[in-house]
Structure formats: structure tokens, C-alpha cells
Symmetry: C2
Subunit: 293 residues, 2 copies
């Protein structure tokens, strides 16, 4: 366990004060690690709620006001808005200001940062704490307790900037790891993006059946859990799939190959092969669950 | 809502006093719908626990003693033991005794019943109330409250036998439906058996990677729910897959076709098609969840 310095931010600017940014603000305020949190967003109602809930201290007047002399600027907006937002903030960044994000894919954000921002001060980040809820009202200070957070800085990123973002997330309760953006995207293609694709595909297959109502009528708890992630935002997950297209296509192909093997085994009533696959998976899944608890 | 008659069983014999059979016994005892529950099983310890928990009133001395003059005989054993068990009970069945089961596939059980038992008295049944726990100690009287239960009798099955099994499950709290065994197996291939195959396959794909520990280390709540069913019994699910092979192969092929379409859309960065699939699935999944609650 590495020691956490007594880091304190004078000003944190959050673009997109939803579950992700709002929960970070609450966690930092709870441990007294930030003096002022300034919020920016497209929904006035959401910002008013964030203000009322004590998530932010004030709503920024404009982009320049938001980022002026901020220690850290957090871009917690959909990836589709990133390029425009980066272009808007770039002229107003102080030399010491660090820019970070909270997106689910990292190579795409890093590429945008390299295009629009002083990359030495940019620290891409991904907190692994998704939830189906959204908006400032969903924010809670404990969201990141014990959760993984991954940083994907470039070799030329300032070490001090990386350290500040690392400490910020540690103070919010997260376990911080560092890796390349490519490695990050490959890992999450496998354990997150592919399962989303598979769940969406199953539900869509059922929807298009003539007897869909009957099928849904008899679906039970196994189906409920397997397809929970298919209730996630279609826009966000289309963005993620496209942003991580290369890694995801590789994972999807690998999975299709495994299904073809299983199809062959089943068509040959090859109980040994089927039991071998199921047993290996069961043992691994049970071991994984045990470590979680 | 159909009226439930004041059915009362004098004797219920349960082969395999685990979660499924044990929970039925507890539910029926709670509403006073059975005088005597006799248990049979291969584990003496489990039967002693069932006795201590008041699930069964006594342990049968042998198969003949178990089924003698029983109103209903419930076969709640793995499908691999069914043929032997049916042959063992057949000589001891009274003319009025009804035989039912609780298996996840119905065409295979029905075929065995047709081979070994007087089919007019046989009522295949499937309670949709799986759980990862097993054994008598997992049994609870509320397990079937509001859960679906499907009967798949033949046209030549005695109507009175079907009605008795229907009322027995209604008294345990279940919503009872009736359909053909083939229709049942097709529905559950889609909403249950296929998802199990898909979850096992994903976990097994990850297990076999060199960086499996890293991948599992960053897997989070989406992965947890998606793969929960991959912690199910490999033997039981191999049996189910083989028993429902034809329907399951059809569903697997249909799913593989859908994945191929998605692979094409993603490789072409076809955001419209991807968003369409994800949106349709999300809307359906959210509507389904809403009806559940």
C-alpha cells in the first residue's frame, strides 16, 4: 500500500457533473482534498441539483471561467463531445493545469488530447465503477471505494501531473493502476465491451422473434443478470464499440471461434468437450467471485 | 386468476430432497396441503437434514415403500438417473399414483416416461426457479411464490392427473402454464440454455489467455452479472445442452448469425446499424425489467 500524500486541490473544474464527476467531487470534499469545485454542463437543471447537493460550489459562467487557474480539469462528457470541448478549453489552460477524463476507452481520448491539448499535462483515466444510474442526483461519495482506476499517460507526460491525478483518485478511495492506453483498451474489450455486445445481441435476437412476448414472459433470473448490461445507453456503447473497434473486433472474432467449437461439440454430442469447457469456466468464475468478496 | 381447489395429498414421495423438491414440500406443508412427505436420496446426511428441518416426515425404507399408495411421486434427480429410477418405481406404482418431475428439459423426460411408465399418469413439469444453492438446507417455502411453472402433458394424459399437479404447484405459489414439451424446450433454449452456453464460453475464453489474471483482475460488475450463470453446475448444464441439443443448436446458429452481422457492422464502422441493435435491445430489456417489478 503506497502512502497517499496530503494533496489538496485549490480548484477542480468538472465538465459533466453526473454520476462519475459528481461522485469524485463528493469524495474529495468528504476528505477535505479540494477547496472549490466548479461545474459546467449542458443541463441547467442538473447543475442546480449538483449545487443544491453540495457537489459543486458554483456553476461556471463560461468555459474560460471554469478552467481559469484550475489545478485539475475533469472532462466527464460523452466521447462525441470531447474534441469540441478540448478545443474550447485549450486557450484558457494555465501552464500548471492538468487535464484528465473518465472515459471507458483510452486510445481515442489520448489521440484527441495529443491533437488539441498540451499532452505533458494530460492524464487519461478510467474509473471502473459503471452504474446504470446517471446525473448529479445519482452521485455518491463512496462510489469509488475499493474500485479500480486506470491511468494511461504517455511517456512524455509530466510525472507530477500523473502523481496528482493518482493521488486525487486514491483520496476518493480507488485502487490506481497505470498501463498503456492500448493495453487498457485490449483488457476492456475482453471483460467489458464484448460482454455488452453479447448481451445486446441476445436481447435483440429475442425482440425480433414473433413469439417475443412469450419468450420474455418465461425469462427468469439467469436471463435477468446476463442481460442487465443490455439496459445500458445505446449511444454510449456504440461510441465505445467504435472507439475500441480494432481490439473489440479481435475479441469478437475469438469469441465467435469459441462458439463454433462449442457448436461442433454439441452437434457431435461430445459430452467430454462440453463438460471440459463448462468445468473450466465454472472453476474460474467461482474463484473470481471468491476473490471479490 | 383461476380458483385453487382445496386439494390435499395424503402422501407425496420425493426422490432427491434438494432445493427443488424440498422447497415444494415446505410450501405444501405450510398451507396444509399434504399429510405425509416421504424422502428418498443417495445422501444419508442430506435426508437426515431434511428430516430435521421438517421438510420430510420420514425417510423411505426402499423404493417400494416410498411410492406405495403415494398420490404424487416427484422425481427431482439429475436427468442421467431418470431412466434407472423410473424402471425401479414402475412395478410399485398404484393405479392412481401420479408421477411428475422438475427437470429443465421436457422432451427427454417425456420420452423416458413414455418408455418406462404408464404415461396417462405422468405429468412432466418445470418450475422456473433456479438458484445456485442446492441440497435440503437450501430449501425454503417461498421459493416458488410468483414463479412460473410449466406443465407439458401429452394429449392422452389423464386430465385429473394434470389438474392435481397444477393445483399442487399453485398451492406452492407458482403461476402454472401448459404447453407441449417441444414448445417448452424451444423457449428455454432461447432464454436460458443459450445464455448459459454464452456465459461459459466467455469465461473459458478468458481462462485460457496468458494474461487471464490481469483480465479477471479488472473485470467488474457488468462481467459479474453477465457470467453469474457460468458458476452453475457443469454436469447439469452439459446434460441440459445434450437433452435439448436440436433446439439449442438452432438457437446457437441464429445467435452466431447475429454476431456475424454485428461483426460486419462494426468492421464497417456502421454506427446506424450498431445503434439500432443496441437501442432495440435496451428498450426491450428495460420494458421487461419494468414488468418484472
Amino acid at each position: 500500500m503506497e502512502a497517499i500524500a496530503n494533496m489538496k486541490l485549490t480548484k477542480l473544474a468538472i465538465f459533466g457533473v453526473g454520476l462519475i464527476g459528481g461522485s469524485l467531487a463528493l469524495a474529495l470534499k468528504q476528505v477535505g482534498a479540494v477547496d472549490e469545485v466548479v461545474g459546467v454542463g449542458r443541463s441547467h437543471t442538473n447543475l442546480e441539483q449538483a449545487l443544491a447537493l453540495g457537489i459543486i460550489d458554483r456553476v461556471a459562467l463560461d468555459v474560460a471561467d471554469a478552467v481559469r487557474d484550475a489545478d485539475v480539469v475533469l472532462l466527464a462528457v460523452p466521447v462525441g463531445q470531447m474534441a469540441t470541448l478540448m478545443q474550447a478549453i485549450a486557450p484558457h489552460l494555465a501552464a500548471h493545469t492538468i487535464v484528465t477524463d473518465a472515459g471507458s476507452t483510452k486510445q481515442d481520448v489520448l489521440a484527441l488530447m495529443q491533437t488539441y491539448l498540451p499532452v505533458a499535462q494530460c492524464v487519461p483515466a478510467h474509473p471502473i465503477a459503471g452504474a446504470e444510474l446517471s446525473g448529479a442526483t445519482a452521485a455518491r461519495s463512496a462510489l469509488y471505494q475499493g474500485k479500480n482506476l486506470i491511468l494511461t499517460p504517455l511517456p512524455q507526460t509530466n510525472i507530477a501531473a500523473v502523481q496528482t491525478v493518482r493521488e486525487m483518485w486514491q483520496l476518493a478511495g480507488a485502487k490506481v493502476s497505470e498501463m498503456s492506453a492500448a493495453e487498457h483498451d485490449a483488457i476492456f474489450a475482453t471483460v467489458s465491451h464484448l460482454p455488452h455486445l453479447l448481451a445486446y445481441t441476445l436481447v435483440d435476437m429475442i425482440v425480433q422473434r414473433e413469439n417475443a412476448a412469450v419468450l420474455f414472459g418465461f425469462a427468469a433470473s439467469g436471463f435477468r443478470d446476463f442481460t442487465r448490461i443490455a439496459a445500458s445507453s445505446p449511444e454510449m456503447w456504440c461510441d465505445i464499440a467504435l472507439a475500441n473497434k480494432d481490439a473489440l473486433l479481435m475479441e469478437l472474432s475469438a469469441y465467435q471461434d469459441k462458439l463454433t467449437q462449442l457448436h461442433t461439440a454439441l452437434s457431435q454430442s461430445d459430452a467430454d468437450t462440453i463438460t471440459q469447457i463448462f468445468s473450466r469456466a465454472q472453476a474460474a468464475r467461482q474463484a473470481w467471485q471468491t476473490k471479490l468478496v
